[in-house]
């Protein structure tokens, strides 16, 4: 017998009894994941900041200027690599003349990436992002600074509601989908909290107001 057959056969020993005693249950949603749009937006911002992200907001036409202002305030230079999503490329980048915008896949030399998030989960201030034909997954983890653009209307309560926006026609998953909650962190040296071990040192969320 193959290893597969052996393992499956062993798992079937006593399986009927286990199935009879196992009970199903409905998902439990924390109260924090429920509320109207305004409450969820407030909670998303509060929880994202609690996790160490910074959060700003602008109308769509003001996003390039908001990015430029954030970079100069934090002294992070003027160059960004932009994921070529239509919603990002169509923004009025010429309104922020100091920015040097390159579209494409980030490499090791890039310091700031700008991507579009799919949803925000208010329960923990988590962004849901995914890889795809336009957005490289590296754009979420490779650069020292990650700026994520999220329409305020895409803030939902819990993780399940966020995931339901992710799955395409027929329920297909993207290759990689990540809930990002604050910057990269570790406590592996003497349990001291430290920011930016492999992934971004800074996560800046820009909410797009309607």
């Amino acid at each position: 017998m193959s290893a597969r057959d052996d393992i499956l056969a062993a798992l079937r020993v006593g399986a009927a009894n286990r199935r009879a005693s196992a009970s199903a249950s409905d998902p439990v949603l924390p109260a924090r994941a429920t509320g109207d749009a305004i409450a969820l937006r407030d909670r998303f911002v509060e929880m994202a900041r609690f996790a160490g992200a910074s959060v700003g907001s602008a109308v769509a036409a003001g996003i390039p200027a908001a990015i430029s202002a954030y970079l100069s305030k934090e002294r992070l230079g003027d160059r960004v690599v932009l994921a070529p999503e239509p919603a990002l490329v169509s923004l009025p980048w010429r309104s922020a003349p100091r920015l040097e915008v390159r579209t494409g896949v980030p490499g090791p030399e890039d310091r700031v990436s700008v991507t579009a998030a799919i949803a925000g989960a208010a329960e923990t201030g988590s962004l849901l992002v995914s890889s795809g034909s336009r957005t490289a997954n590296a754009a979420h983890v490779l650069c020292e600074t990650h700026i994520a653009v999220l329409p305020a209307g895409d803030i939902v309560g819990g993780y399940e509601a966020a995931l339901s926006r992710l799955r395409g026609d027929g329920g297909a998953m993207p290759r990689a989908a990540t809930f990002i909650t604050g910057p990269s962190r570790t406590a592996d040296i003497e349990k001291t909290p430290q920011i930016g071990v492999h992934g971004p040192k800074r996560l800046h969320i820009l909410l797009v107001n309607e």
Partner: protein, 475 residues
């Protein structure tokens, strides 16, 4: 006596005498208590979330066979491959073969307890493939040739000086006069060193925190973001996973996510919680060309059919280690097992055989805090108690006090003998302790009284008091 059993008291004594370890464990457990308290006050529904996670793990274990088949179908549908391995040897051979087929010289790895369980790194090195651990704690341990001493904080037993020494020795291309005296300098050097390794690696090896049957996805949870670089940059991604990790749906996985980080580090959620489904699509901007899931049994299917199946619910958060008074006194290495602390005391003998770890179920005061914090309510004290019973019945396993216990058990079933004997014994104990109020040493249990005084008994036995109260036992 078994060699592991003989070594445990000596290793525990050495650990107790280590001041660096003692300070690290005090900090770990003190801060864990404080941070967990704060987490509980932020999340009033935490008990309901634990119940939900326990239920999910239970019905997943009950359906493991069908769920693994469904998982396999869906991995294939996304363009990936599934490999089944009965034991550690098959798993090592499979991963090594997959690395060779990818012409791999180096493999970057994110943290995986299963990789430790099957000793994967040794096999890769033997095959000429260099494994590079990228979780900061695991990387430090790899440089020092050590094993993790905690499930989620693997290098908790080390201080910054020891880590600096390891970096100085291993990163020999750097300026020998550089300052490595603080955690920030260590972090910057690790980031720069490992960044090059990520970019050059041929294969990325991860574990998985869950397998999701309905989508064929694997769940990866990290704070550092290293797993995301591991599964994104190299051309091949291999996930090595224990079969018990399978869950039916994404919603079930979220039930586990809601208790995992809260129990591990008292965070609301880890910085990165990722679902990986297959290799890069044909039009995808980046990602690996090949995606392999290596499913490993290694004792799990047998354990599922036996009395220790409840421990298969474990989601490897390490909370039982972070609160256990025995773990807090001796740390993880004294256990000499991949899984230390209360969960290790059950998993190690349940997966690998009691004869290989006879000392582990004895390393508990049965205070019950492990069960109180377990996010999936594994009844760890009851399982350890049962393992002690198993040990007692097995002549090949040394059990301290076995003859004394046998004698007591024989006598206790003979009240006509036991009661007068007990009266005589109590009278003798009172006589021994009369002059100083406590008894310094006793025959047969000198090991126990070597470190403590035996209290002088007051009054008569329980049965005498019961009769004196005039009550009768219920029938």
């Amino acid at each position: 006596m078994n060699s592991a059993a003989r070594g445990f008291p000596e290793r525990a004594a050495a650990a107790l005498a280590d001041p660096v370890l003692g300070a690290a464990l005090d900090k770990l457990q003190g801060e864990f208590r404080r941070d967990r308290g704060a987490m509980l006050s932020r999340m009033p529904e935490f008990e309901a979330l634990r119940d939900r996670a326990m239920t999910v793990r239970n019905y997943a274990l009950a359906d493991m066979d069908g769920l693994l088949e469904q998982f396999e179908r869906n991995v294939i549908a996304t363009g990936g491959t599934v490999h089944w391995c009965r034991d550690a040897e098959e798993a090592r051979a499979t991963v090594t073969r997959l690395c060779r087929e990818a012409d791999a010289k180096t493999a970057v790895k994110s943290k995986s307890m299963l990789s430790e369980e099957i000793a994967l790194n040794d096999a890769l090195v033997d095959a000429g493939i260099e494994p590079v651990e990228t979780d900061l704690g695991e990387y430090i341990l790899q440089l020092r040739r050590e094993t993790p001493s905690h499930i989620v904080m693997p290098a908790i037993h080390l201080n910054a000086g020891q880590i600096g020494d390891a970096f100085r020795k291993s990163h020999s291309d750097r300026d020998s006069g550089r300052d490595l005296s603080n955690a920030d300098a260590l972090l910057a050097e690790a980031r720069a060193t490992l960044r090059r390794r990520f970019l050059d690696a041929d294969v990325g090896i991860t574990g998985a925190n869950a397998l999701i049957a309905e989508t064929g996805s694997i769940l990866l949870v990290t704070n550092e973001g290293n797993a995301d670089l591991v599964h994104t940059l190299p051309k091949t991604h291999i996930a090595v996973v224990g079969i018990e990790k399978v869950l039916p749906t994404l919603s079930d996985a979220m039930a586990v996510v809601r208790v995992l980080a809260r129990s591990a580090t008292a965070q609301e959620i880890t910085s990165y919680t990722t679902l990986v489904s297959g290799p890069a699509r044909t039009d995808e901007a980046d990602g690996p060309r090949a995606f392999h899931v290596v499913l490993v049994d290694n004792g799990r299917s047998k354990m599922l059919a036996g009395p220790y199946a409840d421990a298969l619910r474990c989601i490897r958060c390490g909370a039982c280690q972070s609160l256990c008074p025995v773990y807090g006194a001796i740390g993880g290495h004294a256990y000499d097992a991949v899984y230390a602390g209360p969960i290790g005391a059950v998993l190690t003998p349940a997966l690998g055989g009691l004869e290989r770890a006879p000392h582990l179920p004895q390393a508990s005061s049965f205070c019950g805090q492990c069960e109180d914090v377990c996010p999936v309510r594994v009844p760890l004290p009851a399982l350890m108690r049962r393992l002690r019973e198993d040990s007692f019945r097995r002549p090949d396993i040394a059990v301290a006090g076995r003859r004394l216990t046998r004698f007591w058990s024989w006598a206790a079933r003979r009240p006509a003998l036991y009661r007068p004997g007990l009266r005589l014994g109590l009278a003798m104990l009172r006589l021994l302790g009369a002059h100083r109020g406590a008894i310094r040493s006793l025959p047969f249990i000198s090991g126990w009284t070597g470190a403590r005084d035996f209290p002088v008994p007051e009054g008569g036995s329980f049965v005498e008091k019961w009769h004196a109260s005039g009550r009768e036992p219920k029938r």
